[in-house]
């Protein structure tokens, strides 16, 4: 706090001639912090644009892949654990938000060691989140063959019974309800959609084949989680720079103390905030 008082005195001496010379701080926040808030506001609009288009496209489709079915893989060959992996990812990001708060608090009391240690934990959290996302993307692309133009996750619109099995989870004769999702597998690099017989509704008795799910699903998933992941990646890069600057004592010398730590803290919490909504829309609803 001592450095704050000095900084304040300096300000009043140097700029006594009006607000436009930088003498007073609008909203009692420094220029940098205020601009970080407005940058985050504009970024919030960008993310909202993405998320609202997700909502509009999802509502425009007759069926949409069930998230509990799509996101149910876990590292180590574990399958059918709906939402488990993404919950772990959410916890990693939440934990890194907490360590970031701690770093800012240590900055307020000018404790260099505390700032550096808590920022390093935040970097570890961010890197771990990125690792998880890489694994999730890899599973979706390499094992489940989803891309921005092909979505093998379809959803049944009628109840029925399978006439063939896929050698994975579905056996010949298995029944299903409307609204259940399925994954079309590849055999020898060829798509192998299963045949089934409709058992209910006006089409009962008809033979049909599994069809691909809405293309928009893959495109929206990769673009939105990718855009968020890019924010995390650049966040980690900035955290590293600011952590290094703190460690070398640069901020201890500056008159505004650890304000850079506060600013990157705002950005980092915003990334967590966006994840709250990505988590809600893609995985929970």
């Amino acid at each position: 706090m001592a450095s704050d008082t000095i900084a304040h005195d300096h300000h009043t001496e140097a700029h006594t001639d009006g607000s436009w010379k930088g003498g007073s701080e609008p909203f009692k926040a420094s220029y940098g912090k205020l601009m970080m808030w407005y940058f985050l506001l504009s970024d919030a609009f960008t993310f909202s644009g993405f998320l609202i288009s997700y909502g509009a496209l999802r509502f425009s489709m007759a069926s949409w892949p069930v998230p509990d079915f799509v996101f149910s893989a876990f590292p180590g060959g574990i399958h059918h654990k709906p939402l488990l992996f993404v919950t772990v990812m959410t916890f990693i990001l939440l934990a890194s938000s907490f360590t970031m708060v701690r770093a800012v608090q240590e900055g307020h009391r000018e404790n260099k060691r505390g700032v550096v240690v808590w920022m390093l934990w935040t970097i570890v959290g961010g890197a771990a989140f990125l690792g998880c996302q890489a694994w999730e993307w890899n599973t979706l692309m390499k094992e489940e063959h989803m891309s921005i133009v092909v979505n093998p996750f379809g959803t049944h619109v009628e109840a029925g019974q399978y006439l063939t099995g896929d050698g994975h989870d579905i056996k010949e004769g298995d029944t299903f309800h409307a609204g259940e999702s399925y994954l079309i597998h590849k055999h020898d690099n060829e798509w192998a959609p299963l045949k089934f017989k409709v058992t209910e509704g006006p089409n009962a008795g008809l033979e049909k084949e599994q069809s691909f799910g809405p293309k928009a699903f893959g495109a929206l998933f990769f673009f939105i989680t990718g855009f968020h992941g890019f924010h995390v990646l650049s966040g980690v890069a900035f955290l590293l720079i600011i952590c290094l600057n703190s460690a070398t004592g640069l901020y201890a010398k500056r008159r505004n103390g650890y304000e850079m730590v506060e600013k990157i803290g705002l950005y980092w919490h915003f990334v967590d905030l966006v994840w709250v909504f990505v988590f809600l829309l893609f995985y929970l609803l």
């Binding site: 009692k28 506001l41 919950t87 919490h269």
Partner: protein
């Protein structure tokens, strides 16, 4: 900058992260319960689970912005310039969801029309 002591703000941060974690676990369990994964044959309407989860996510957003990002301790002017513009999004969400619904009806009428033509041929 807050007027809280170091120990006070530390305990607030700890409390906030615990609440956030509890809400997240509850959301996931509620989503799975609603879709019939936890109790055999028991499901909850998507409107109810959706409403509950959107509300809880807004609570999480409030906690992150107000406690972690210290919005609670900023002057009212700053809070307004940041939060009021986001209210514009409320209308964007409503109108685009309605638009999405309209696309769905258009899509199905196009589909029905093409099937009719195919049948006539």
């Amino acid at each position: 900058m807050s007027h809280l002591s170091y120990d006070q703000s530390k305990s607030i941060a700890t409390k906030t992260i615990i609440i956030l974690a509890v809400i997240t676990v509850f959301e996931v369990l509620f989503a799975l319960l609603g879709k019939g994964y936890l109790v055999e044959g028991f499901r909850i309407s998507g409107w109810i689970t959706g409403g509950v989860m959107i509300t809880l996510s807004l609570v999480k957003a409030y906690l992150i912005v107000y406690e972690f990002m210290h919005m609670k301790y900023e002057v009212p002017g700053l809070v307004k310039t940041v939060l009021l513009p986001t209210l514009l999004l409320v209308w964007a969400i409503i109108s685009f969801i309605a638009e999405g619904k309209y696309w769905e009806t258009s899509r199905s009428s196009v589909k029905n029309h093409t099937t009719e033509i195919m049948v006539k041929k």
